[in-house]
């Protein structure tokens, strides 16, 4: 599977650009020395030399693999170092890792994508893929929420998405302000009514643990079937190849069997939402 390569060794990668998204979130534009062909939902390990590694799901178009974008919130030691990076710096990437969204299973289905805060990052990559294959699905809906208008990611792009005839999009913020004309409240508020065939529909959720917990409960209540609810599980990861033990959720390793896992698989385990 690793073709004789050292799975712990990262690919040397150049920082091409640093884009400020919000006060806490930046997007890195990265050019690895070897292309990394990832599917939407798969992730990479980013090495900041001398600081350490952390896992991120690219926020860019999977069909472009010589350049990838990682959207990163400042929350810990590695991500603080990420925010100090400058154009031209050298970092490392390992990947693609884990399993992405099983998009072939979504054919002829109605798809609801639910995002919260920094969860917009992996979902942007997914949305690009879904747009590219848009004729294959019955319906595509996006529901997104974040703390405030100031912290909304990819504003410009979301506006463009709003003009797409094949996408039904609604956004909300927890706390409104003068600049925000849309809905105010948590994302579960704008899930119902949704106007789709929930029994047979696909729901994809990515966001903070608490948001995913409540969104999943809401989606179940609306009639979505457990195997059709796809969640992006956040866990402490180290090796990212299913060996080091850290990211275990019940019988699965988030790094190897996920990070995207359907709800039926993990529902029975206790510490799923921590």
């Amino acid at each position: 599977m690793n073709n004789g390569h050292n799975p712990y060794s990262p690919i040397k990668t150049e920082v091409i650009d640093m884009i400020v998204e919000t006060p806490m979130i930046k997007t890195l534009k990265l050019k690895p020395q070897e292309p990394i062909a990832f599917a939407a939902g798969q992730f990479v390990e980013l090495t900041i030399p001398g600081v350490g590694e952390a896992p991120f799901t690219p926020s860019s178009r999977p069909s472009v693999n010589d350049m990838l974008y990682l959207t990163i919130m400042k929350v810990g030691a590695v991500t603080e170092a990420v925010h100090r990076l400058e154009k031209g710096d050298t970092v490392g990437l390992r990947g693609p890792l884990g399993k992405g969204y099983p998009i072939d299973l979504f054919k002829d289905k109605e798809i609801l994508v639910v995002g919260g805060g920094c969860g917009f990052a992996p979902l942007r990559s997914l949305m690009y893929t879904l747009f590219e294959r848009s004729g294959e699905f019955k319906k595509l809906l996006f529901r997104g929420g974040c703390k405030s208008a100031k912290e909304l990611l990819y504003k410009h792009e979301l506006e463009q998405w709003g003009e797409k005839p094949d996408l039904d999009i609604r956004l909300t913020v927890d706390v409104g302000d003068a600049s925000w004309k849309g809905h105010v409240g948590v994302v579960t508020d704008i899930l119902d009514p949704i106007g789709m065939d929930c029994q047979n529909g696909i729901a994809i959720v990515c966001g903070p643990a608490m948001m995913m917990k409540f969104a999943t409960a809401k989606l179940s209540e609306m009639g979505f079937q457990d195997p059709n609810i796809y969640l992006s599980m956040e866990r402490n990861m180290s090796c990212a190849i299913g060996k080091c033990g850290h990211c275990r959720i019940g019988l699965y390793y988030a790094c190897h069997d996920g990070p995207v896992l359907s709800y039926d698989k993990i529902k029975g385990f206790r510490d799923v939402w921590a």
Binding site: S9, A54, R235, K243, C244, G245, H246, D271
Partner: protein, 367 residues
Amino acid sequence: MVVAVFDPEDGARQDKREGLFGGVRRAMQFLSNENLFVWLAGLKRDYEVYVPLKKGPFRFYERYTAPSPDIVIGEVRATEPLKGFFTPVKEKVAELFNPEPLRKKQKPMAIVGVKACDLKGFLVQDQVFCKGCQDPFYNRAREDNLIISADCTQAIDSCFCLALDVNPYPESHFDINLSEVTGGFIVEVGSPKGQQVFDSHKTLFQEVDTMHVNERKEGRKQVVAEVERNIAKHGVPHQNEYQGMIERNYESKIWEDEAKTCTECGACTTICPTCHCFALVDQKEGAEFVRYRQWDSCMLKDYARVAGGGNPRPQLWMRLRNRFEKKFDFFPQVAGLNACTGCGRCITACPANIDIRRVLKRLVHNE
């Protein structure tokens, strides 16, 4: 001419319980005590040879230099687990941005006197490091290192291998096995690599005597009886009774109760032959950044903590429960085996007297 002699019963316990590794019959030879040291000296040409050395009541693996009365091939397991020879506590696994594989060590290692409980550890470690995406360092060590195992000739109070269906004598996963008998050892070859090593020292081995075979059989029976007495004394349940015990007791007070004295030192996971968790740690070395694979412990608070502070197991008792869940629920379900070998090391290592035998007993009996 050397005549192959087979042990007709192949182990003393077959009547009662199928051994973990089943009953493979192997040809047996004899190695005298004097020739053992000639052999070890010969092995030093191709291997770094490690032997168990007695220090007080304990045995530790030390590099073999010369014959010594402190070298104990039989007796019982060493204090440290075997895993350190295959995934060292801290091993360099990458030099950042050097795509070349790391240099091979000078010589592979021959580890002598390995006991059956540590060999069972391979079942778990192999499952982790050889399945799916392979760890090249572990795999290389598995290919290169030589395992010369040995029968236990005694049990200590913490031994409970039989509860996990591990017999106190090696049945597989060795290259060569030694069974101590009067004047020397019965030698069995367990792998092609072992056969090669055996063949290149052929003149040292002699035909085995029926007396020695009987002696081994008797010796094995005695050690089995000792372990059985331990199991009875401590009321250790047999693994046939483990199914469902974690699920049943998930919300039980057992965990909080047992974790009360835990000091979160991580000794239990460090000394366990099946615990495999590690963390990748980057360090500056000269002008380079290097990456180490370093043992980690699921008992430590930060083990599962994510950036931003979220922790699926913030309480110590949750981590204790998780450790048992991994051993007795996860591994049985994903690999069909309990990740415990009954070696009892964690019992001796724990400064807080958390006794795995007692925990298993409480879980099985819902106490």
